[in-house]
């Protein structure tokens, strides 16, 4: 095997002048960002999960648009009146969010499950830069890729709708906001996944919680008397964020940007709680 004395740089005893040693620099957020970027792109599971999310986001809207177009004449009058060619194109977000949310969870819990977190926190013992860097790197990657997927879904769906003269244009009022909103919505769901992962530190528990919040909670609240549920439903994370994807505000929902702000508030609150716990808990 190797002989350590010949390969390692010579170190020195206390008090002596430092001998030449391997290059190193203070830990900064920029360097932790570089580290997290390497971590994110060097896992096969990350690339696959992200790809699944993007395909669902881009593809399902087109399929939904095609189905509606082919059955247009058999739709009722109110269905035809309420048809939103943009929102139909955004239908992929319901499925895409599951993959993106799981990816957000895995970015954190993957480290806890494998013990990697101890190597990470030994390298960055101030800890909080790790949480910020994970959120920023994952958020940026998700925002860029899911915004592209959202536009692909929009233009794909309009192409399918055009022969039936049901299409809209990106320059129509509220449409650009809704399509950009598709990317923003997925990004915030991903970040909520990151915070749940950091709070729960267990993959199965965090994914269950995420799906419960996104899918189950709206159904449960709807079981309550409408006098109660009407006040709650619109503030649930998925419903609040969904408002941004509609070109026209639906009854019983928040205004687009208000809804998105509410959704972001959940992510920010979760991130703050995760930061507090990351500082306090043993790794």
């Amino acid at each position: 095997m190797s002989t350590p004395t010949s390969t390692l740089d010579r170190a020195v005893g206390p008090g002596a002048e430092p001998a030449p040693r391997a290059e190193a620099h203070p830990v900064t957020l920029r360097r932790v960002l570089a580290s997290e970027w390497i971590k994110l792109r060097t896992l096969r599971s990350t690339r696959i999960t992200l790809a699944v999310g993007l395909v669902l986001m881009a593809g399902i809207g087109v399929v939904v648009a095609a189905v509606i177009a082919s059955r247009w004449n058999s739709l009722g009058a109110d269905e035809q009146a309420s048809f939103d060619p943009t929102y139909s194109a955004m239908q992929g977000h319901v499925f895409g969010q599951l993959a993106i949310g799981v990816l957000g969870v895995l970015v954190v819990t993957g480290e806890y499950a494998t013990g990697m977190i101890r190597a990470t926190l030994a390298a960055v013992p101030k800890r909080l830069p790790v949480l910020w860097a994970k959120s920023i790197v994952f958020g940026a990657v998700t925002l860029a890729s899911s915004t592209i997927a959202s536009f692909v879904a929009f233009f794909g769906a309009q192409a399918v709708l055009t022969p039936h003269h049901l299409q809209t244009t990106i320059s129509a009022s509220g449409v650009l906001r809704a399509v950009v909103g598709g990317g923003l919505y997925l990004t915030v769901v991903g970040l909520i996944g990151v915070t749940l992962g950091a709070l729960v530190r267990n993959t199965a528990a965090a994914i269950t919680t995420l799906f419960g919040v996104l899918l189950l909670l709206p159904v449960l609240i709807d079981l309550l008397p409408s006098s109660v549920s009407d006040h709650i439903t619109k503030f649930l994370p998925s419903n609040a964020g969904d408002a941004l994807l509609h070109v026209h505000q639906q009854s019983g929902t928040l205004a687009p940007w208000t809804g998105f702000a509410v959704m972001c508030a959940y992510a920010v609150a979760g991130l703050a709680a995760a930061a507090y716990l990351l500082k306090r808990r043993d790794a």
Binding site: S2, T7, H25, S35
Partner: protein, 322 residues
């Protein structure tokens, strides 16, 4: 002082893992951190690098809490367990990601990969690694920042004899370069070969803090084996308040509490013939077993504390060697 722990306490619920642990690790030596499984070694090491927060007490590395260093990996390289690695990532990418936090260049990653002999598998995913390969990767991570101090938790665990010898040589090489090595083990014999100084804990408490030599002396009640045709007569002459004599076979005595010189003198004075007079030094393993049998009874004495002074000279020797 490289590592300085003062009154360290760690409780998990109502279970006390580490109780009032005070010790220092001197620079430029291999210090063995010894104790039975579950004695609190890993917990203590996790507290040193800030992964676990002490319930009470403090621990500093190079004069500061670990987390307050601008370049922690440059100060201390740590391997707490071989598998602190994401199994889906390649060994090389794992090292690259850790190196990035300190702006450590790629050539240093290549260096440590070669140093631990992982070149052939560096581009393979860690999930398929054998225990020994995982251990080598853990050591590569610990050396990545070219640290002044290296902390390794059970580095020879699960290694084959060739790997054990490799770790042993590595530790000696690091110390010869003037680095401080703090290495835990539950294997006394392994420590006897690599460590100059020992910190022994049992049930979370400090049992001994001494050089390997002193540790054996302090811990063991050395005995002398005597064979004589007049064994019974000699036995009567030797017995005293501090002296015990056992006889397992006719004509042979095992004397504890007396130096062999003294026994020889007594025998000569009474005209007793001796066939054999052999001082029996307890092995490190014996000393360890004896000490850890009852952790509380063997709390460190003032003598054990004073022995750290003797270690200072060992540290000096280590530096000269480098």
């Amino acid at each position: 002082m490289v590592i300085e722990a003062k009154g360290l306490v760690k409780r998990y619920g109502d279970k006390t893992a580490v109780h009032d642990l005070t010790f220092t690790v001197q620079p430029g030596t291999v210090t063995g951190f010894l104790g039975p499984n579950g004695a609190g070694k890993s917990t203590t090491m996790r507290m040193i690098v800030g992964l676990d927060a002490p319930t009470a007490g403090t621990v500093t590395v190079h004069g500061k809490p670990y987390a307050q260093h601008a370049m922690p990996l440059r100060e201390v390289g740590v391997m707490l367990e071989a598998r602190a690695v994401h199994t889906g990532r390649t060994a090389y990418n794992h090292l690259l990601a850790l190196a990035a936090t300190h702006g450590i260049p790629r050539r240093r990653v290549d260096e440590v990969v070669d140093l631990v002999g992982l070149r052939a598998v560096a581009r393979k995913r860690v999930g398929g690694f054998s225990l020994g390969m995982g251990q080598r990767l853990g050591i590569a991570c610990a050396l990545l920042g070219d640290p002044q101090t290296v902390i390794l938790d059970e580095p020879v665990n699960g290694l084959d004899p060739e790997g054990v010898r490799w770790v042993r040589n590595l530790l000696r090489g690091l110390a010869a370069e003037g680095r401080t090595v703090f290495v835990s083990s539950h294997l006394m014999s392994e420590m006897a070969l690599t460590a100059e100084h020992l910190i022994v804990i049992g049930r979370g408490e400090l049992i001994a803090d001494a050089s390997v030599h002193e540790f054996v002396k302090q811990a063991s009640t050395n005995s002398v084996r005597v064979r004589s045709p007049q064994a019974a007569q000699l036995r009567e002459l030797l017995l005293g308040a501090e002296v015990s004599v056992a006889s397992e076979e006719a004509g042979a005595l095992t004397v504890t509490g007396l130096e062999s010189d003294r026994i020889g003198v007594v025998a000569a004075q009474h005209g007793i013939t001796l066939y054999e007079l052999t001082p029996q030094e307890a092995s490190l393993e014996d000393a360890f077993m004896q000490l850890t049998q009852d952790a509380v009874e063997y709390r460190t004495s003032a003598g054990a504390q004073a022995s750290t002074g003797a270690d200072g000279t060992l540290a000096g020797a280590g530096r000269n060697a480098a």
